[in-house]
Symmetry: C2
Subunit: 347 residues, 2 copies
DNA sequence: TTGAAAGCGCTAACAG
DNA sequence: CTGTTAGCGCTTTCAA
């Protein structure tokens, strides 16, 4: 039984296709008798209007495209979940693609989604795209008037709505917090040094040091490449016995760092404190449980989806907005207690 | 600048639509001069053929729909990743939906995806759907000849391709393994007792007990509902001092059980051993690291995608297959060493 | 109360 | 070499 069309139903009853269309819509133009027959038949044969045809007709698809660099990263999984949830509740479906942190794949994907199959697009730049800093593919999208929301990893080369984590403030706040617990020399371990996000956090860190009249030391920024052995890098880092605080810019790195320190007999948090970014599923369960910075991934997804759909549905030219989502520090056992005289971070 | 169509280009050059179409395809029918002009213009104005129109014309979308019950579950994230990867490499994009373990949402989603926007469908049943055991929505899909692959949580009410974990064997193997390490009384803690998957694992467990001439005891199957307090249930369970092995049917439950036991001063694995299902990101990092059953999520995703696309592209009626994917036991520190005389499980 | 025709954007067969 | 036509499945005037 091939997929049923209006044509099939029409010829089955010997009426015209527009009559069937109206009958199925319960139009008052059509006689009750015919309507009943047609509807019953459609029901029985499980007729569904072809959405592609409707999309072509209406010039909208009620779908939004989502491109994330890496779905195995829990932050992106959370954002994705948030997007799916709110899009769905507003009647939109999601076409999802993974750029795999690759510039080339991001371009392909953007081209694909830009060719009419979605009404709008939510994306976070791949690492490679940010490193290359070339945004031609997104410019094309803008040219073609396809609404777009950038989140987390954004660029100022593109003028569109954005939802970003306040990473500068997060870096600042986290550093101040560690200082407040008595840390004297704080290092950063980053596996995302190329991304806008990583850079902002380091900036915030520097500002906090400055305010504390501490000198910034380049040795304290550990850049972890894909090929690098974290253990070696950490060994090198803690050869400097003054290091007593580490900020890890993603959850995996935080957990790995913790384990390496434990293996080396370093006491956490007594000798070295650790704070990690992205409050995922791991950090709560390791021992000691890690103090983490939560970026509220699901909320970011919801926000991005709402902004996008608003823009899709409200044709008027509202100015582009950039929403700054504050992070929250979740204190657990990998950091010491705050000394008095420091303002606790607020949610 | 609105989205450019062939019509726009045609009227710009005062030629016909089909001429432009051919020119853009570099057809030998068209003069070099015109081709060059048209192509240059299209390039400059960033012309992209409307995919929706092509979809309507070709009656295929080169997209496949994926419905997972819960993307925050790492197993499904992995499967999803596998699907996306191989679909993409074969030129397909993914439309993804989350059923959120809800029967109603699953129906909606299936209806949506069944209305022509995808060439085929990959899905895993929601918990509620399995509990209700009503598959009308899938039957409709089959009626409409939409290719479908069911994975992990499947039903025998529907005749289609399937990819399932060999959960019976996994339950059997895991139980035998625990027995082999010297456990005498093994319990199961399940938060998925309604699902086909959970039931099969319990079946395998029973068979292993039988072979070891052990009596099955209903008290040893702990069913954890959404509202239940795991701590209470575990307390009740280990009130039976003979319990010395626990199989947890998902990763969260495994980790939680471990923590509860630790809190209660129970030594793992000396007093009680734990094996968990789904080798995700947590189990490796808790202390002691958990011995887990890996279901090879990414591989399952790849397999499902390949089967589906084969079926989409190869119209011939090949018989439906059910692929059984074996699990692998990953031994870590939450179980004791195997005694000799037991055949170690193989990958 | 029903039907014919146009059109969404595109391709392909067929004419000129 | 270029244009006309028909059609993918549907909705929506407008005409009968």
């Amino acid at each position: 039984m091939k997929k049923l069309t209006l044509k099939d139903i029409a010829s089955h009853f010997g009426v015209s296709i527009s009559t069937v269309s109206k009958a199925l819509k319960d139009s008052p133009e059509i006689s009750e008798a015919l309507k009943l027959k047609v509807q019953a038949f459609a029901e029985e044969r499980n007729y569904r209007p072809n959405r592609i045809a409707l999309n072509l007709l209406n010039k909208r698809t009620k779908a939004i495209g989502v491109i994330v660099p890496n779905i195995l990263n829990y932050f992106f999984t959370q954002v994705f979940y948030g997007i799916e949830k709110t899009a769905n509740s507003r009647g939109y479906s999601i076409i999802s693609c993974i750029s795999d942190e690759s510039y080339k794949k991001e371009i392909q994907t953007v081209e694909l989604l830009g060719s009419g199959i979605v009404d709008g697009l939510i994306l976070s730049l791949s690492e490679e795209t940010q490193a290359k800093d070339s945004m031609g593919h997104l410019k094309n999208l803008i040219k073609n008037r396809i609404p777009m929301v950038l989140f987390d990893r954004v660029t100022n080369k593109i003028d569109c709505d954005k939802v970003v984590v306040d990473d500068f403030e997060a870096g600042y706040k986290t550093t101040k917090y560690l200082l407040g617990t008595g840390c004297k020399k704080i290092a950063i371990v980053s596996a995302i040094f190329n991304s806008s996000v990583g850079k902002l956090r380091v900036k915030g860190y520097k500002k906090a040091l400055e305010e504390a009249a501490q000198e910034f030391n380049d040795q304290c920024i550990v850049k972890v490449g894909k090929q690098d052995d974290l253990e070696v890098l950490i060994s090198l880092l803690i050869a400097d016995k003054e290091i007593d605080g580490i900020i890890a810019l993603d959850e995996m790195t935080a957990v790995d760092t913790l384990n390496i320190l434990k293996m080396k007999g370093v006491e956490v948090p007594n000798q070295i404190s650790i704070v990690g970014f992205t409050n995922g599923r791991l950090s709560k369960y390791v021992t000691p449980a890690l103090t983490m910075v939560s970026q509220h991934g699901q909320y970011i997804g919801e926000l991005a989806a709402n902004i996008l759909i608003d823009r899709i549905e409200y044709e008027g030219r509202m100015p582009f907005t950039t929403k700054l989502v504050k992070t929250t520090l979740i204190e657990r056992e990998s950091t010491k207690k705050l000394k008095t005289g420091y303002d606790a971070p607020t949610a």
